[in-house]
């Protein structure tokens, strides 16, 4: 009986910690359902009559739907391109170990470790010179490159875990190389593919700086809309910010609810495996 009580209190503490970390987000989500006066009221209103006016305003804005569409299209396309390219490269790195494998893997990792502010300067110069700024394909392919290093690292780790005997068996039985790649190896690294897909999607979905610099009217994604909206002259429209932030955070939230077991692999470059 006593241990039962202790366990209940322990569980209660764990829930409280979890909720504590979520409180700032809750504050924003409730803010999205408040009227302007309720949102800015002092003392803060815990109990209020919810309104959907902020969301109807949001959908009426001219910049919301395009940026939502851009966010979905650019992140999905970029990640798919990156995964195909990265899968081929990871297979080559893992099975053939061409000369310079270690160096290339190191370079790929470095790309992700450099502060974005340092990379954005040359990318900006290059995009201006080539005229790729605010071009859908230019921005999309940039994000594909943005997703490649992580995908190669994670997929190489998974392909290393598949025995080369599968390849040999496939080849001896008359399968082509492509058959081995896509019918033999691919199904076995599905967890890696899912993790790479979900987390790259989140990273691209979240990216702000590059979109701010090399994007434009035609390629604005949600974080940029959020930031520019929050910088408007003459007072910030906090209702708009709260409503847009609420819409924005639904996909990442769902992703880590449904793909929680990939969270560890996803957040550590595929270098730490295991479930939490």
């Amino acid at each position: 009986m006593r241990t039962n009580w202790r366990q209940k209190i322990y569980h209660l503490i764990l829930w409280l910690v979890s909720i504590f970390f979520f409180l700032p987000v809750v504050w924003i989500i409730t803010g999205a359902f408040k009227t302007k006066d309720d949102l800015l009221a002092i003392p803060p209103k815990i109990i209020f009559s919810p309104t959907l006016a902020n969301f109807t305003d949001l959908f009426a804005r001219h910049d919301f739907l395009p940026s939502l569409r851009n966010s979905f299209l650019i992140s999905a396309l970029a990640v798919i391109v990156a995964l195909v390219v990265a899968f081929l490269a990871a297979y080559s790195f893992s099975r053939f170990k061409p000369r310079g494998t270690d160096f290339l893997m190191f370079l790929l990792l470095t790309v992700r470790m450099v502060p974005a502010a340092a990379v954005v300067v040359p990318i900006f110069l290059m995009y201006t010179a080539f005229g790729w700024k605010d071009d859908f394909w230019g921005v999309m392919l940039f994000y594909a490159m943005f997703s490649i290093p992580f995908s190669v690292w994670i997929l190489k780790g998974f392909i290393d875990g598949v025995s080369p005997r599968f390849d040999e068996t496939g080849l001896v039985n008359g399968g082509s190389r492509m058959h081995v790649l896509f019918r033999v190896i691919l199904p076995q690294v599905r967890p890696g593919l899912i993790a790479a897909f979900i987390f790259n999607l989140i990273f691209v979905w979240n990216e702000f700086l590059f979109n701010f610099i090399i994007g434009g009217k035609k390629t604005t994604m949600i974080p940029v809309t959020l930031v520019t909206g929050s910088l408007s002259q003459g007072g910030v429209d906090w209702n708009f910010v709260a409503a847009l932030a609420t819409v924005y955070l639904i996909p990442p939230f769902l992703a880590i609810y449904f793909f929680q077991k990939y969270l560890l692999v996803g957040m550590t470059f595929g270098t730490v495996r295991g479930e939490v």
């Binding site: 322990y10 569980h11 764990l14 829930w15 910690v17 979890s18 970390f21 979520f22 700032p24 987000v25 504050w27 002092i42 003392p43 390219v85 081929l88 490269a89 053939f96 061409p98 370079l107 990792l109 470095t110 470790m113 450099v114 502060p115 974005a116 502010a117 340092a118 300067v121 040359p122 990318i123 110069l125 290059m126 392919l141 594909a144 490159m145 490649i148 008359g174 082509s176 190389r177 979905w205 979240n206 990216e207 702000f208 700086l209 610099i213 940029v224 959020l226 910010v241 955070l249 990442p252 939230f253 880590i256 609810y257 929680q260 560890l264 957040m267 550590t268 730490v272 295991g274 939490v276």
Partner: protein, 323 residues
Amino acid sequence: MQNDTSTIQAVSGAQKGIGGRLRTWRMHWIDNSRYFPLMLLLPVLIFFLLWNIIPLLWMVGMSFYNYSLITGMPPRFIGLGNFLDLYDSYAVWGSLGKTFIFVFFAVGIETLLGMVLGILFWGSTHLPGRRLALTLLFSPMVLTPAATGTFFRLIYEPTFGIMNYLTTQIFGAKIDFLGNEFWALPAVLMVDIWMWTPFMILITLAALGSVPRAELEAAEVDRLPWLKRFWYVVLPHAKFILMLGIVLRTIDAFKVMDLIYQLTRGGPGNTTEVVGITLFRKAFEGFSMGWSSSLAVITLLIAIAFTSIFLFILNLRRRGAEN
């Protein structure tokens, strides 16, 4: 039967009809080609050349030039002038110093807090609604800094922010967190800690999970004191993952930019101006591309150093696993 013949055909290279000829062609030019590994790599190499090598060379080249977008003058070669200017610049040393202070406190506090909470969550397997609880716990780290920065501007807002409501209730004073020279850095740090402590919890849980159950049970049977149990049983197994987590977090904290940009833009004054912000402002508010390229080269070198440390620990773990 049919299966057998096709296998023999494939092995002997016998060909019949257009399909057979295609197959021989493929076998000769793709499957058995010496360059097959290279063919697989080609797409990545093209991407890499276009989006990394060219910009990198551009950046290194530009760092030797005086090039401002405002004057409209063509770039002028000044050799190491930019780097000498960086070396003399008070602002650069100041922002490097601030970056290291930020990294030190952020990573230190996150690691400590994350380890404590991670150990707390160790026995959470039977927690009712565990998946939802962990989703709530881990969500701060998958939200974009651009959005969390915006949230916290509302929360820290001096007139109607909830944070100031709390401070007036508890201490009877209002604090303009983001506008006050003393409070700006701690306020920014707090947001970073809120965002990334969950990551260190995740890492700690993974590290604890890597300890073999048998050894823990042996320690239990031996009634080893808790501190010793941690030191002699848990730590030798957990340390690699913990170190990887800390290095990753250090690198990410070093990269911090959009969060601070959104919260304070480096202000008030330049109290929260980390390297990322200096770079961004010089390049896109001051438009001096040559100067910021040279600073970018320096940060690139620092990042390469961090990456090497990360790989070193990764190899250490691999060797540790083999022994």
